[in-house]
């Protein structure tokens, strides 16, 4: 066997190994799954909505909750969200300081590798500000979550009664 042939075989073998490694399960970075997305019912708000368009403080609100599961071996981060049913969408967290509930905007939420983060009442939530329509029990709408590595993940959100 000539040296050239040996080198060719070695190169092909190395290439094959690299392809197998890249395609192996669990070695492909974060694998994001969104579980049970739901939102609170809310009224877009007649007078309130009118004041909210471009006005200060009149925008009707709701909140979206879900569980983000990362089944991959690399962490990721939720960095934003968007939907047609609200003018503004922000990531927020309710923090209890004693018996005082404080609303805190959060720029990003880390999702650990092979872990999960729960968005739930009195905790992390996606805030919908300036609802463009009523959210009634049984309604659904699309919310697109934006992850740092995994990109955009559209999910269907169901409007439900509170189930704290």
């Amino acid at each position: 066997m000539s040296w050239i042939r040996i080198l060719r075989v070695a190169f092909a073998g190395g290439l094959l190994l690299a392809l197998v490694a890249c395609g192996a399960p669990g070695a492909s970075g974060p694998q994001i799954r969104i579980v049970d997305p739901w939102a609170r019912p809310a009224m877009s708000g007649g007078m309130s909505m009118g004041e909210g368009h471009g006005g200060h403080g009149g925008a009707a609100t709701s909140a979206v909750y879900f569980v983000v599961r990362n089944e991959g071996d690399q962490p990721d981060a939720l960095i934003g969200a968007a939907t047609d049913v609200a003018e503004t969408v922000e990531l927020h967290e309710t923090r209890m300081e004693g018996d005082i509930a404080k609303m805190v905007p959060v720029p990003r939420v880390e999702i650990p590798a092979r872990g999960q983060v729960e968005f739930r009442p009195r905790g992390l939530h996606v805030m919908l500000i300036g609802l463009r329509r009523d959210l009634k029990v049984g309604d659904t709408f699309t919310l697109t979550l934006r992850f740092e590595k995994s990109g955009e993940k559209p999910v269907t959100v169901t409007v439900k009664e509170m189930n704290p």
Partner: protein, 232 residues
């Protein structure tokens, strides 16, 4: 039987009766809930736009919560807890003894119409529940009287801002606030502080039943001679 025997029996029975009376009195005392403060009798406006004096609820046990309708997370839970209590109160046949009051901490945005829509969206039974707004200074004084902390937080595109003037038009605000539900006795005195959105139904109902069982101190008539049911 010698007369001394019957005398002894009589004294014994008296002692037993006295011990029973003392026990009942001690139990009642142990059962008594503390008095924290008195809810002021100030005028507000209900979800139908009618004047509502808080004093009109005297003679009823009152479940009182303070919320704002633009609160997306904690306030809906406070309202949900109160609605569960309302349903349980009805199930126990106490609806004519217990009244529910929700007062906004955001009167600038929470008009009677907004409150009505908010309550209807949550299937509130208005038979024994009023949603109140009012003059901002009255609301502020009430929060101070009840020890409710409120702090407006202006957010602009996810960034907190100190004042609404930081941006024209695009600002909205949220209110950091105490998460609490009050139980008020028939004399308008706050007798229990429940943990708002985290209120447990059995514990709250146990306190409500105690307050219902308490006799009014002097069966005080309703202020201004107005019957509670007729005023809303």
């Amino acid at each position: 039987m010698p007369r001394g025997f019957w005398l002894g029996v009589g004294i014994g029975l008296l002692l037993v009766a006295a011990a029973g009376a003392v026990k009942i009195a001690l139990d009642a005392r142990a059962e008594s809930l503390p008095v924290y403060m008195t809810v002021p009798d100030w005028p507000f406006t209900d979800q139908e736009g009618r004047t509502f004096w808080l004093g009109h609820t005297r003679s009823k046990v009152v479940v009182l919560g303070m919320i704002y309708t633009h609160c997306p997370d904690v306030c809906p839970l406070i309202t949900a807890r109160m609605r569960e209590l309302q349903e349980q109160v009805a199930a126990e046949g106490l609806s004519d003894q217990v009244f529910f009051v929700t007062i906004t901490i955001d009167p600038e945005r929470d008009t009677p119409e907004v409150l009505r829509r908010y309550a209807r969206a949550r299937k509130v039974d208005f038979t024994n529940w009023a949603f109140l707004t009012g003059d901002p200074s009255t609301i502020r004084h009430l929060t101070e009287a009840l020890g409710i902390y409120t702090e407006r937080v202006y957010g602009i595109n996810g960034t907190p801002a100190a004042t609404p003037g930081a941006s024209a038009g695009a600002a909205t605000y949220f209110i950091n606030h105490t998460d609490r539900i009050f139980l008020v006795d028939r004399q308008g005195r706050v007798r229990a502080l429940l943990p708002g959105s985290r209120t447990e139904l059995p514990e709250a109902m146990e306190k409500i039943r105690r307050l219902v069982r308490e006799r009014p101190a002097s069966s005080a008539p309703l202020p201004m001679g107005v019957a509670l049911r007729s005023s809303f």
